[in-house]
């Protein structure tokens, strides 16, 4: 047993190098001043003050959260029925449908978004709408697959039992299928909301550049302005907000479980 535990070490080292170290660097940058080498660190809260001193930055953050949230809701509304019907299909057809859902993901996201740019170019719709199209298109497979997996894992005899006890189709869905598929919906939300809130190339390519989200803000301060400290501060603020929203989601999930058990 002990020797098995030792096999964990490479992973721990991997996590330390690939996840922990960059996170610590972001935190370090966020709390220090620009242009100083590591030897002469000057700690400051200036970057955070700058973020909240002007309504523009919180506004951009708020808009990103709003858009990510709407994207997630659309993905659930469109993705749930899709997953439901795929799960109901027979053997071969099921795997073909799943294949069709995953097929676009074989091509790089950036390339697909460029394609959408060409398709939507001459449509007289707002840039906001175009961004939504791009977001939902890119992230909906994650939602569908998560829900689909939890639906197929479901014990089918529960449905027969519900029917046996006199539940109609709607009741069976609302009181058996839906609660049992919630874990899939919750992980779907995580997988859609997280990349949606920090996405920067979808709004950049489809929103015509004047549609700034927090991801674009971060990219802008890192790449074009070269102000890594302020960029890190924005990243950190966003990370904290995402952590809070994930905590809330998990909590809702937990309470839901409690309810169904009762």
């Amino acid at each position: 047993m002990k020797s098995f535990a030792r096999m964990l070490y490479p992973y721990l080292i991997w996590i330390a190098i690939m996840i922990l170290a960059p996170m610590l660097l972001i935190i370090l940058y966020a709390f220090t001043k620009q242009g100083n080498s590591v030897l002469t660190l000057q700690f400051t809260l200036e970057n955070f003050a700058r973020f909240f001193s002007d309504s523009i930055f919180p506004n951009v953050l708020w808009r990103s959260l709003k858009i990510a949230l709407i994207t997630t809701v659309i993905c659930i509304l469109l993705g749930y029925p899709a997953a439901y019907f795929i799960a109901k299909l027979e053997g071969n057809r099921k795997s073909i449908m799943v294949l069709l859902i995953t097929l676009p993901m074989w091509i790089n996201m950036l390339v697909r978004t460029y394609a959408w740019r060409g398709i939507l170019l001459n449509f007289p719709v707002s840039s906001e709408f175009k961004v939504f199209v791009g977001m939902v298109y890119n992230f909906i497979p994650f939602m569908i697959l998560q829900i689909y997996t939890s639906l197929t894992k479901m014990d089918q005899s529960l449905l027969t039992a519900a029917e046996d006890l006199g539940a109609n189709k709607v009741q069976t869905f609302l009181r058996v299928t839906l609660p049992l598929s919630m874990p899939g919906v919750i992980s779907g939300i995580t997988l859609v909301f997280l990349p949606a809130v920090s996405s920067f190339f979808i709004p950049k390519l489809l929103g015509g550049g004047d549609y700034v989200l927090v991801g674009n803000l971060i990219e802008n301060y890192f790449i074009s302005t070269g102000d890594w400290n302020f960029g890190s501060a924005i990243s950190l603020i966003m990370a904290v907000i995402i952590m809070i929203s994930m905590f809330i989601t998990k909590k809702v999930d937990y309470e839901n479980k409690g309810e169904t058990r009762a």
């Binding site: 951009v60 015509g208 803000l217 890192f222 074009s224």
Partner: protein, 360 residues
């Protein structure tokens, strides 16, 4: 097994643009002459001729590690992070900053006789008046490209950058998504220096940009502007002259105009960082880039104006590759054109204002 390894290595070397097989290699041992045999070059993306690097490798029997950056700031931060390079190709204001911060070493001019090939207009620009630290690579302007069929040339020529506030062209305009280039247009349109620190002038330029955002609702783009104008997606765009030259050569409906109120004259130049491991070979490389052959290959592939006066002449002469292309040759000696100066405080202010313009 050994053979497989050799083959693999060979493949790697091909990828890193080093010839394999040894044909045409010189017999010189670079280790002996230069003290090293690998040159680390850090340049802009899509900024080098097809055979420039491999020819140098063959000629000097060395290997080039070629990496690319997308912005001066990206390059600068990478250097601060401790990365070591032998040759960099930053822009004017960034070179000024690096000189100020003692990050560069002077060129060894005895090793670079080809500095004599430099075109007059790009020699001794304000960021490095005696070319002590830098040897220009490409240079150019920022100009307006417009579709002759949909835009009245008289509008562009009489209004200059102010055509970007002409409501007639609402929804048909590309503007470069960068605080520096956008504020440059605004300052120039208002008749101010683009290096101004005067707060009233900055505010006025900010209002100018807000007005532009409202009146023509531009698309803010970076490199997408090139494809966008080649395909005729929009009618007016503000672009770098090298990209303009390419757009004009691909789409004959497009015309080019340099605003009379002045614009940005820029130059990207080769420099050697203070911590370069192989400075001798770096000087040799800079000298090589300034030869007519290498400069021609660069300029012909990339489309930007060469810093080499012979190439510049050949390209724009009758029968040359850019004969009759008005965007290729930079405008020289025009007093209202300016070179960017490095100003960290100003940059921060403009960056925040630019975000506001885009979000208005």
């Amino acid at each position: 097994m050994k053979n497989w390894i050799k083959l693999g290595l060979c493949g790697l070397m091909v990828v890193s643009l080093s010839g394999c097989g040894g044909s045409g290699k010189s017999d010189v041992d670079p280790q002996e002459v230069y003290g090293c045999s690998t040159l680390n070059v850090y340049n802009w993306g899509e900024y080098v001729g097809e055979n420039v690097l491999s020819n140098f490798e063959k000629q000097y029997n060395v290997k080039i590690n070629y990496s690319m950056f997308a912005s001066n700031e990206e390059m600068y931060t990478k250097l601060l992070g401790g990365s070591q390079y032998d040759v960099l190709v930053p822009s004017d204001y960034m070179i000024e900053r690096m000189i100020d911060e003692n990050m560069l070493q002077p060129l060894d001019k005895s090793m670079i006789p080809n500095l004599a090939n430099l075109a007059d207009g790009v020699k001794g620009l304000s960021y490095d008046p005696d070319n002590t630290y830098s040897a220009p690579y490409f240079w150019g302007m920022v100009g307006i490209v417009y579709n002759k069929n949909n835009v009245d040339p008289a509008d562009v020529e009489s209004q200059g950058f102010d055509v970007l506030r002409n409501e007639k062209y609402k929804g048909h305009v590309f503007v470069y998504d960068s605080e520096r280039d956008s504020f440059m247009m605004a300052f120039k349109a208002l008749g101010y220096s683009m290096n101004t620190e005067n707060e009233d002038e900055i505010q006025e330029a900010y209002q100018w940009l807000l007005d532009m955002d409202k009146k023509v609702d531009p698309s803010y783009v970076t490199d997408e502007v090139i494809d966008g104008m080649v395909t005729g997606e929009k009618d007016i765009a503000v672009v770098y002259s090298g990209d303009a030259a390419y757009i004009l050569s691909e789409n004959e409906d497009m015309a080019y105009w340099l605003p009379e109120e002045g614009t940005n004259l820029w130059s990207d130049a080769m420099v050697i960082p203070a911590n370069a491991k192989c400075p001798k070979l770096a000087n040799e490389f800079i000298n090589y880039i300034l030869t007519d052959d290498a400069s021609y290959d660069n300029s012909s592939t990339v489309g930007y104006a060469s810093s080499n006066k012979n190439v510049l002449e050949e390209m724009s002469a009758p029968g040359g590759e850019y004969d009759g292309n008005p965007a290729y040759l930079p405008r020289v000696g025009y007093a209202k054109d300016e070179v960017f100066k490095h100003n960290e405080v100003l940059k921060k202010i403009l960056a925040d204002l630019w975000i506001k313009v885009k979000n208005s």
